[in-house]
Symmetry: C2
């Protein structure tokens, strides 16, 4: 475990007040999977008929828990359901015993709550390749089932942390004909740490009424522009999991006010995604990269991620250096189409370069002043067609090297 315990300078001032979601209860326990003197297991129980949708890492070496979740999503939703998460051990690359651990935890959770095992979704996050001591989690299930509460979502946010420097939560609500729909979510990550490989986990809960198929469709659509548009270091975890649960207890059907539901859900997802970037390992700058004028949205995304993942762009921003040549470099290497003589680059509201060369009115001191801010906006217009994409990232600092190289397992 790294000894970095200082809270990220980009952290929100405090954990937000989150609304209770009717039909969802939480409990946490300190099972001692790896960490001492802190909670490391979270149980969420969902009422009968709750729909559960999910998106997962596409890693070909994904964990046993991810594979198990993927096989269960979309199954029969008539009974209740549960989510069981442990931190400290990812149960990834653990062969057949990994699946056995998932089965042991799922069946014990199902027994404790009177559910079908096919309705228990598990996640594990932490070190890769070590056998998960699932007995410690199974032993904690009685206590967990007996202490479920609608109001302990903030405790849940803490129990799923690994190397996060702050717990992450967000919520939104909207009214329909005197009834209120609530959405609340928690997340962990996306730190990566020696020797652990922490990962992104996100759990979202709403009391809207919606079918599983519709819930999955809206989740998949919104993930592209939120969680799939952030990057800290271009490394993809073996455990990334995002689950969205809808209890229907608000009495409001989502398709009644589709726009309101999607807007509210997207705001929660984007808020949590930004919090993950703000807790990026060693981060001191929160960076938004907007690419417009590309041949297609896909091309714009390739350019935006090439900039966001470039070590030279990220270190320049860490050094508060408006080194726009590195942005030119990142566009050039991306593989997506660009015409050198049509593109323009802005830092915040400062036009740096256009038409293949530096803006004649550009003064480096204007850009240098902007680079001292904690939030940096880089806009690239390719001057071609209408494709656009926005991604978020953080800078690359000595803190990242400290966390990932200076401490041994």
């Amino acid at each position: 475990m790294a000894k970095i315990t200082k809270v990220s300078p980009l952290a929100p001032a405090s954990f937000p007040e989150l609304p209770a979601i009717e039909g969802v209860k939480f409990a946490t326990a300190a099972a001692g999977v790896k960490y001492e003197a802190r909670t490391d297991v979270m149980l969420a129980s969902l009422c009968e008929g709750a729909a559960v949708a999910g998106v997962f890492t596409r890693s070909s070496t994904r964990s046993a828990a991810v594979l198990d979740c993927q096989s269960k999503i979309g199954g029969d939703a008539s009974g209740g359901a549960a989510i069981l998460v442990n931190s400290g051990n990812s149960n990834a690359f653990t062969g057949a015993v990994g699946q056995a651990s998932v089965d042991a935890i799922s069946s014990a959770t199902a027994a404790a709550l009177g559910l079908e095992q096919s309705r228990v979704f598990t996640s594990s996050t932490g070190v890769i390749g070590e056998r998960l001591p699932h007995g410690k989690i199974v032993d904690a299930l009685g206590g967990l089932a007996g202490s479920l509460s609608e109001t302990s979502i903030s405790d849940a946010a803490k129990a799923i942390m690994t190397t996060d420097t702050f717990p992450k939560g967000a919520s939104a609500s909207y009214d329909v004909a005197g009834k209120t729909v609530n959405i609340a979510g928690i997340a962990k990550g996306s730190g990566m740490i020696a020797p652990d490989m922490a990962t992104m986990l996100v759990y979202l809960f709403t009391d809207v009424a919606i079918s599983q198929a519709d819930l999955q469709a809206v989740l998949s659509e919104l993930t592209d522009s939120t969680f799939n548009s952030i990057t800290v270091d271009s490394d993809t975890s073996t455990s990334d999991t995002l689950l969205l649960c809808a209890t229907g207890k608000s009495g409001v059907a989502a398709d009644q006010h589709d726009i309101a539901f999607k807007d509210a859900l997207r705001s929660v997802m984007l808020d949590l995604a930004h919090q993950v970037v703000r807790d990026g390992e060693g981060a001191t700058k929160f960076i938004e990269i907007r690419v417009t004028g590309a041949k297609s949205n896909a091309d714009a995304r390739v350019h935006a991620l090439s900039i966001a993942n470039s070590p030279l762009v990220k270190t320049a921003i860490a050094g508060e250096d408006p080194n726009w040549g590195r942005i030119v470099m990142a566009i050039g290497k991306s593989g997506a189409y660009a015409d050198r003589d049509k593109l323009s680059i802005m830092f915040g509201s400062v036009l740096v370069a256009e038409k293949g060369w530096v803006n004649p009115d550009y003064r480096e001191e204007d850009a240098a002043a902007l680079m001292k801010e904690q939030e940096i906006l880089i806009t690239v217009d390719l001057g071609l067609e209408q494709g656009s994409s926005t991604v978020w990232t953080c800078d690359l600092t000595h803190g990242y090297i400290e966390i990932n190289a200076d401490y041994r397992s």
Copy 2:
């Protein structure tokens, strides 16, 4: 300019003795393009009939000099030729005035040596987006033309350096029926530095007799397994240029299928490519990554580069941590096919993982001892088909952050 002047710990003990190549002469000058008190321009003159082949960055924002070289390669080779290189300014992203600078330098070089302008190849390396003060270079050409010598290739290696911590040279030779074929080469890079973006430049010279078309074919083929198989930080420069010149003066003919010629040329290219990695910014470890058993060579290369470019793999090695879970992660995220339960991973001769889990006989202390070495070998066998690829990289350290973030333009 960064203040990092310490020579890389991975540098060779000394610059090698390089053979003179008949038909090739060198001269250097201190033109004051950017640096003070050092040489920054190199001129190489090539005898009549010399063939010149080249490979270049594929960046869509490549420099004016690269675009100009690409337009000239493959042209009429009956007259002599010249290569003119400056360090300190890359003349990249400088719009129409960039091409005007290339024309001014090319025509002055042609006039000084009595050549066609179409036979003058130029390279520029250094800061992006600043106008090249080409007048300083033009003014130096008289002195350069008057001081050409067959024996000053080591001076040439020094004049093209930007943020390199040591000059890079390599040679090879072979005999055919009492005649000797010599190959000598120099390279710079691939450092990247605030505010400069240094780049890879390579110049190879041989006295073999070969057509331009055959020379280009063998160069393109060998580049894939040498210079295109190294990475320091995944960022691609706007100026990468590799030129190979053959004078024919040995009296020995080579065609593109000549095994002795290809072996000798490949050894020079690989030696220089490895020296570039050994001068990687902040590097303390030289890392070879061999991937075998992939579905295809292309798939193996995707996996190998995913491992080589992973910040988490590179920081683990910097920390001498045998964190093999990060290699599993890098394979998983690469996008190329892998079957978790068939792959095996070795550090040096230590079998770490196989069949989807850690090797039961693995002892971390064995791998930890290997990680203390300066040269690290990582072998991944995917257990599928016969595809293979080897790439070379260095670790990611505080030195990289220092060079690229801590110093301002």
